[in-house]
């Protein structure tokens, strides 16, 4: 039986892969903020680098800057730097944006930028070195005055690179970071501030590794300084705050890594598949980096952890309720077959099975005016009623089928009591087909739970999803579909395995080959 379970679990892998692809297709429906702009707006955007940057950040958060499935020319810090240099040399209308990008890339761009500086014409060289001056200010260096001497900036950067180029190497960075982790002196801090974004991978690794809040504060401070985003994590930050800040840094790095790291050799080949919208998105989803909810800037993962249990517990309770009641109701209906009673039950079950969940919920809500968790029974009943009717009907007809089976007749002929007949021979075999339905009832109940939550204002996934719809909170919507699909897959497998455990006939069929 373990083998069967394993096989089913293995077959779930391509299924989940398919699910991820469907959800990925769903994400491509989200509107691209850039395509809504008119031509004039786009022109204006290029003149205001800050606004352009903000829009780009929004797009990158959704991986819209990446191609869908294959990235023929993966971008890394070298490619981006070269592009910026080109724009600055030509002094075209993307110049301001390019200058801003270069400053943002910061120290990481210097090893690629400085050697190429000489290849530019004198005017281009001047423009580039002037554009980089905000970086010098960020590094805490004395910014040269360019008003009197147009070549002051160029001279400054030449001298800087002559002095410091040996610092911009991987071993030097590792040593600086290790020393700073041991003991924070102002000199060591300055060293890292001058390395700027070049040290980001090491800084981030150090901040994620350490358990010492003081060291963490140091490194997050440097991270924030180099990237000009958020602030250092205070030393006395609570555990939850620290977790949130580090998760935020991790997901930021997940998106922005290519801006600061050069890709060569195998890394470049891997990037053709890895730096794509689909791959980034899948990896992000699989590692719990579901991003921030655009509605309230809470991490989606944390919100999911808070909301999902409400929904799933409700779904399971409703299922339990439906199953426990369905067996006796079905048995009663089968037992009373052909009497006046039967008609009433059959009709009631039929109507119950056709009842729209949301309608029942709203009617019960209007009648009971339940608005709190206290009245949890009412939403549960509303949720369970359709399933209950479906299962009872199923139970009734499978009991009727069993009653006429040969083995029941044989048992009766042998003089088994009515009780024994019903419980041992009929019921056991009749319950089995109902178990199969559990897997199929689950997705329906889950959908119902979404509606019930909305009607009764229960703060679960469904309630949150409807709020997310109003706010176009894409991150949440994606996470919801993914989680529901994953849980449904597990439920389908579980119900098949349970059936196999309960029914030897099914078990034999399952062990023989793949289920039809």
């Amino acid at each position: 039986m373990l083998r069967y379970t394993l096989r089913r679990a293995l077959w779930a892998v391509p299924t989940l892969f398919g699910v991820s692809f469907v959800v990925f297709l769903l994400t491509t429906l989200f509107p691209d903020p850039a395509t809504r702009l008119s031509l004039q707006e786009r022109e204006a955007l290029l003149r205001t680098p800050q606004a352009h940057f903000a829009l780009e950040e929004r797009r990158r958060g959704l991986f819209l800057d990446l191609p869908r499935v294959v990235n023929v020319v993966p971008r890394d810090v070298r490619v981006v730097t070269e592009e910026c240099l080109l724009h600055l040399q030509l002094d075209d209308n993307e110049g301001p944006v390019a200058a801003n990008t270069l400053v943002r890339l910061g120290g990481a761009a210097l090893p690629h930028l400085m050697p190429r500086l000489d290849a530019l014409d004198p005017e281009g060289r001047r423009r580039v070195s002037r554009a980089l001056l905000p970086l010098a200010a960020r590094m805490g260096l004395e910014v040269p005055d360019t008003t009197t001497d147009p070549d002051a900036a160029l001279l400054f950067w030449r001298r800087f690179w002559d002095d410091r180029s040996t610092d911009f190497t991987a071993p030097a960075v590792r040593r600086s970071v290790a020393r700073f982790a041991q003991k924070a002196t102002p000199a060591r801090q300055r060293e890292l501030e001058i390395l700027d974004t070049y040290a980001l991978p090491e800084l981030l690794a150090a901040a994620l590794e350490t358990n010492d809040p003081e060291v963490r504060a140091r490194f997050t401070g440097l991270l924030a300084h180099a990237t000009q985003r958020s602030a250092a994590l205070p030393v006395d930050a609570s555990a939850a705050e620290a977790r949130r800040a580090l998760a935020d840094w991790r997901s930021w790095w997940f998106i922005h890594e290519p801006d600061f790291v050069e890709r060569e050799g195998t890394a470049r080949v891997a990037a053709t598949l890895g730096d794509t919208r689909y791959a980034k998105w899948t990896v992000g989803a699989a590692t719990g980096q579901l991003g921030l909810s655009t509605r309230d800037n809470e991490p989606v993962y944390a919100k999911l952890k808070e909301r999902a249990p409400v929904t799933f517990v409700m779904t399971f309770l409703a299922m339990l309720l439906a199953f426990t009641l369905a067996v006796p109701i079905g048995a009663f209906a089968a037992w009373r077959r052909g009497r006046a009673w039967n008609r009433v039950i059959t009709a009631a079950l039929f109507v119950g099975y056709s009842l729209p969940t949301f309608w029942v919920a709203q009617v019960l809500f209007s009648l009971a005016k339940v608005r709190s968790y206290a009245g949890v029974a009412v939403p549960l009943v509303a949720l369970a009623i359709t399933s209950l009717a479906t299962l009872s009907r199923h139970q009734r007809s499978s009991l009727l089928e069993v009653i006429h089976a040969d083995y029941v007749r044989t048992a009766r002929a042998k003089g088994a009591s009515a009780m024994r007949l019903a419980l041992v021979h009929a019921l056991r075999n009749a319950v089995l087909p109902t178990v199969t339905l559990a897997g199929f009832q689950f997705p329906a109940l889950l959908g119902g739970a979404f509606v019930i939550e909305e009607v009764f204002s229960i703060r679960g996934m469904g309630w949150e999803t409807l709020r997310a719809i109003e706010a176009h909170d894409t991150a949440w919507i994606v996470a919801t579909v993914l989680l529901s699909a994953a849980v449904t897959t597990v439920m389908l497998i579980a119900s098949d395995v349970a059936l196999g455990l309960l029914d030897p006939r099914v078990r034999e069929r399952q062990l023989r080959g793949r289920p039809a």
Partner: protein
């Protein structure tokens, strides 16, 4: 599995299925003749000597603004100048009257909603939206699913493998959650996008059912005989396999009709999707969420919804039993 006409004959022998079919026929009639029951304009009128036939449908320009109420006033002011045959309720589904959230009365037999629209008119015209949409959608996804399932089951191999993966995938995603989220992700969700979404979310189920049937039928002797006679695979599939394997698709389509009506109403109830373009039960019912005591908003469209679903389920069960001889003996 008997032939379809045989099954249909057996279907008509079932009392409950007959009632279901009758109810569906009545609802379809209501959908077609919605203007007879509720409209802003008369069914037939002569105004100042000009005769208009069915202005409720044709909306002649010369009558613009002169709706039922205005014409009735005019006939009182100048007796004899207006002769009109009015619909049962003299309000269309979109016209807003000043009486908002009015309980049922002679003027508005089912009351009015939060914008003063007549609930009766919306319910009656909603039958058209609801049934029409469901019928189109179900036809589309059953056709698509049957085609894919038949191809997969008949040819097997790689096509079959991929179809199975697709059906597995789609059955793993709760369809309501998926449809809700797709409608949410779209910048302008409407009935057209809902159509595409429902087709995408539900075709796999039909494909799975049809595939199983086709695999079963493909091994029968008559298929073998047709092949031995040199019939092309397409001919065998279309003439011999599909007609004998369509039972499941038809049963699933019948149940699907009720399910899609329910789904559409549910989305409208949650205020996701098309708002205000078509009369719909879900929209009327969604008003109740702000005014839980306005029972008429919930009751009348809800009963129509329930009737539709019960009717389709009755017909669906009847069809299933009629197509499955084993179930017949069980019920007898």
């Amino acid at each position: 599995m008997g032939s379809l006409s045989h099954a249909l004959h057996r279907l008509t022998e079932r009392r409950l299925a007959r009632w279901g079919a009758l109810a569906l026929a009545l609802l379809s009639l209501v959908a077609i003749l919605a203007e007879l029951f509720a409209s802003d304009y008369p069914l037939l009128c002569s105004v100042d000597g000009v005769v208009y036939v069915l202005p409720a449908v044709t909306h002649p320009r010369s009558l613009t603004g002169r709706d039922n109420a205005r014409l009735a006033e005019q006939s009182v002011e100048r007796p004899g100048s207006v002769f009109a045959v009015y619909p049962v309720v003299r309000h269309g589904p979109t016209s807003e009257s000043p009486a908002r959230l009015a309980p049922p009365s002679a003027e508005h037999p089912f009351g009015t909603d939060s914008r003063g629209r007549d609930v009766f008119a919306q319910t009656i015209h909603g039958v058209r939206t609801q049934l029409g949409f469901a019928l189109l959608t179900v036809c589309a996804y059953v056709a698509l699913g049957a085609f894919i399932g038949a191809t997969a089951g008949y040819f097997g191999g790689t096509i079959d493998f991929f179809t199975e993966r697709v059906t597995d995938t789609m059955s793993a995603i709760p369809s309501f959650v998926l449809i809700l989220c797709v409608q949410a992700a779209l910048p302008h969700p409407n009935l057209e996008t809902l159509f595409v979404t429902v087709v995408a979310a539900r075709f796999a189920e039909v494909a799975r059912l049809v595939r199983v049937e086709v695999v079963d039928v493909s091994t029968r002797d008559y298929v073998l005989a047709a092949r031995a006679l040199g019939a092309s695979p397409l001919r065998v599939l279309l003439r011999h396999v599909l007609p004998n394997a369509r039972g499941q698709a038809i049963v699933s389509a019948t149940f699907g009709l009720g399910a899609v009506v329910l789904l559409e109403a549910q989305l409208d109830f949650l205020r996701v999707g098309d708002r205000g373009r078509f009369a719909s039960w879900g929209q009327v019912m969604s008003d109740v969420r702000d005014r839980p005591d306005a029972y008429w908003l919930l009751l009348f469209p809800g009963l129509f919804l329930l009737a539709t679903v019960v009717a389709t389920n009755l017909v669906g069960e009847g069809l299933r039993d009629a197509l499955d001889p084993r179930a017949r003996s069980k019920r007898a």
